[in-house]
Amino acid sequence: MNRFPLWKNLIVVVAVAAGLLISLPNLFGEAPAVQVGLSSGEPLTDSGIERVKQVIASQQIEGAAPYLDKGRLMVRFPSVDVQLKAADSLREVLGKDYVVALTLTPNTPAWLRAIGLRPVPLGLDLRGGVHFLFEVDISTAIKQRLDSYASDFNKLLRDNRIRRSISVTGDEVLIRLPDAADADRAEELLNDADPALDIERRVSGGSAVIVVRMTPVQIKEREDFAIQQNVTTLRNRVNELGVAEPVVQRQGVDRIVVQLPGVQDPAQAERVLGATATLEFRLVCDDANPLEVERTGRAPLGCELFQSRDGGPVVLKRRVIVTGDQLVDASQGFDQGQAIVNVRLDSKGARSMLETTRENLKKPMAVVFIEQKRETVERDGKKIEVPRVEREVINVATINGVFSNSFQITGLDTFEARDLALLLRAGALAAPVYKIEERTIGPSLGQDNIDRGIEAFLYGFLFVGLFMLIYYRVFGLIANIGLLVNVVLIVALLSLLQAALTLPGIAGIVLTIGMAVDANVLINERIREEVRNGSTPQAAISAGYDKVFSTIADANITTLIAGIVLFAFGSGPIKGFAVVLCLGIMTSMFTALTVTRAVVNLVYGGRKVERLSV
């Protein structure tokens, strides 16, 4: 009696062993490091990696240990002094195409990293940093779209010689037709232009009003687009900041969370995040030799020298065909198996584009990315901030047809097309964002929080363990083993999920231990009761575990419900607590019912037992 079949014992052994292995990386602490990535946010190429490694080698930095991590090169250093020195020289040599960020990296041994194991990432409240919550003004995005419709319709009806006056009020475009007889044709034209729109006609006397509204689906699409684009913009900016492991995420309907671990100056971060970028379409001066222009510094009349993103000069016309604020949408697509970027312009942009393309068929056109940044410069011995405009050509393509409000950019591979679409969106037309929450946690406070959390956990665990041992003796000891395994499993699961551990998360672990004891108390009390009622020791163990099963399941499922609700409704710190609570409930059921039982069976099972030490 009270023997586990082999498979059950194996499950316990495997679970405990896996738990220990997965939670192992948490024991090694952190080392100062420098993270090197590309400014564009793309993964480093092999040649890029070689370059960085060479620089490190040439600087003769002692003890540097580089390894690749999520497309960035992480270089660990034995001390902060070496780290700072190395970061400075790396910045100097690598230039602006690379982002060099100071960070702390886990001291995980290479063999653990090789099998993909990492320690639990720490939340902002434990490691220090800045947290922003931005709200995207989606009503402005909708308004922009309606304005764009209004001007499109105006052009459409004008081209068809229909007299009209058009205005935008609230969420409607109102088209007044002085002659009601035009209404049928106007409606037909509008319908052809965009069949998805919600069109309604009101006739009063001799005149008619056509009301055009966006359908809920279109509004949703527009909102999603505006937010997604803002996320992209912010992510690009964060890359500029050179922060290791930043978080830029959409939260809820119209919010964006930005978390910058290790950043201590929210003002600087906000400045960069708030920078504005735009783009322009220009014709290429194809009669000029870019290298020649670069060498002499003299461009032909009406032309200007630009730098291309891939390096190398490009000479463009001074006249701008279309600016970024005339861009309505950009998306990646495929045409006959080739990657393309679909671009949509508003009517003003479309008119200009139509005229230009008509006259310049088969000529190259360039997309210029313009960014306004602020940078600190030293002037007369004082550090001041000056605005700086950065312009670069991100794409040159040949005009293959006459087009106006929508066209395609071809000649790209899939990766490039995706990035160009992102950049086009990121560069222009950001619906305004407002900061509605900001939290800054100093690094010393973060360390304090870790220390206090761990201290609370250790003392609590010590008290509980001691009491269990005194009160239930051998069974108390076994329960304590179960509790330890429980902690190991929670840490292992958190490491596996890479869910950030926060102070509320540590509180969750502490509370879970308190609640996990409950299952063991239930079992041990039940065994005592069975012994009192005259059961043999073996029967008492068996009955004790069996009878409490449904109780433990019921009790834990109700707590799990509370945990899941917390997770669903909560944000930030509450979510961290909820995750740990839910994981803890599951692991504690496993440890209380299976792990402790396996140990009990090992100790008492299959032999004659006079009395139980419970």
Partner: protein
């Protein structure tokens, strides 16, 4: 070692009228305290919006001086308190009409730096008022939703009379804990809200254990009044109920003592919640089910009578 008399037969349900009066007084008292005009909750900036600054001074902070300086700088309404140690100070200001949070924070820091230039800014938080409104709404909604889900589960596993008993016991606990927060003026922030939901889970957990035993005893002891059987069940689970509460309490007290200021609200809420939760699962939950005339027939399906020792399968 054993602390509880295994043969205890205390007449808990016999005292249910006294318990009912006691609980009613606590509940009504808490609800009155929760009325904003009477005392109301001291909401943290998570809910109200505003600015929170945590400052570190070199030596013990001179709170009266800080308050005087803030009042002179037109921030007389700022809440100033020590945070953990004598040299750490937390300052909370409600949102200002027409003034950006950042400006407010800047002004406060400037005022305080004038008093002591060595003051170190350890943490700042700005929360927009709309975030707070949403949180209050979401928090209430989460509470309600959790209750409904738990009630549905208990109805599925037991029966509506027990579900009502469990929910009453469960409502009882956070309400009284909230009353405690209103009475003491402890800050009610996000972590306390999380603690409230943990209390809901914990309290139901406790109640379920008692109900499970009642169901088992209704099956086992075929004779006997429901009151008698329920009393036996409460007595049988008494050791466990108190042991579990005690052990969980050990962990929570460790948090209270060593967890630092940030966890204080959370740990205080749990401490009160556990005490009340233990009381309610002994005195309130079964008593209410009994008052609703719960009998053996409510829990035992007429045909599917199970043999002893057989394990209930999960639904």
């Amino acid at each position: 070692m054993e602390l509880f008399n295994a043969k205890s037969n205390l007449n808990f349900l016999g005292q249910r009228r006294i318990a009912a009066v006691f609980s009613t007084i606590l509940m009504v008292g808490s609800l009155i305290l929760l009325i904003p005009g009477v005392r109301g909750l001291n909401f943290g900036i998570d809910f109200t919006g505003g600015v929170l600054l945590e400052l570190g001074y070199q030596g013990p902070a001179d709170l009266p001086d800080i308050r005087a300086r803030l009042a002179a700088g037109n921030y007389g309404d700022a809440q100033v308190q020590n945070f953990g140690t004598a040299s750490d100070v937390m300052i909370r200001v409600l949102p200002r009409e027409g003034l950006d949070n950042k400006v407010v924070a800047g002004q406060i820091i400037a005022v305080l730096k004038a008093g002591d230039p060595t003051v170190e800014l350890r943490r700042t938080e700005f929360v927009g008022p709309q975030v707070g409104e949403e949180l209050t709404e979401q928090g209430a909604l989460a509470m309600l939703f959790a209750m409904i889900m738990i009630m549905a589960y208990i109805m599925l596993r037991f029966q509506w009379k027990f579900a009502l008993g469990a929910i009453a016991a469960t409502l009882h606990d956070p309400v009284i804990t909230l009353g405690f927060f209103a009475l003491t003026g402890l800050t009610f922030d996000l972590s306390v809200l999380a603690a409230m939901l943990a209390i809901v889970g914990y309290s139901v957990n406790d109640t379920i254990v008692v109900f499970d035993r009642i169901r088992e005893n209704f099956r086992k002891i075929r004779r006997g009044e429901p009151e008698e059987i329920m009393n036996i069940s409460v007595n049988e689970t008494l050791g466990r109920t108190i042991m579990t509460s005690f052990l969980t309490m050990l962990m929570v007290i460790a948090m209270l003592l060593f967890g630092g200021e940030t966890l204080r609200g959370f740990a205080s809420a749990l401490t009160i919640g556990i005490v009340i939760g233990t009381y309610s699962s002994i005195f309130v939950a079964s008593a209410l089910a009994l008052s609703l005339k719960a009998t053996a027939a409510d829990l035992i399906p007429p045909k599917a009578e199970k043999g002893e020792g057989e394990v209930d399968s999960m639904p």
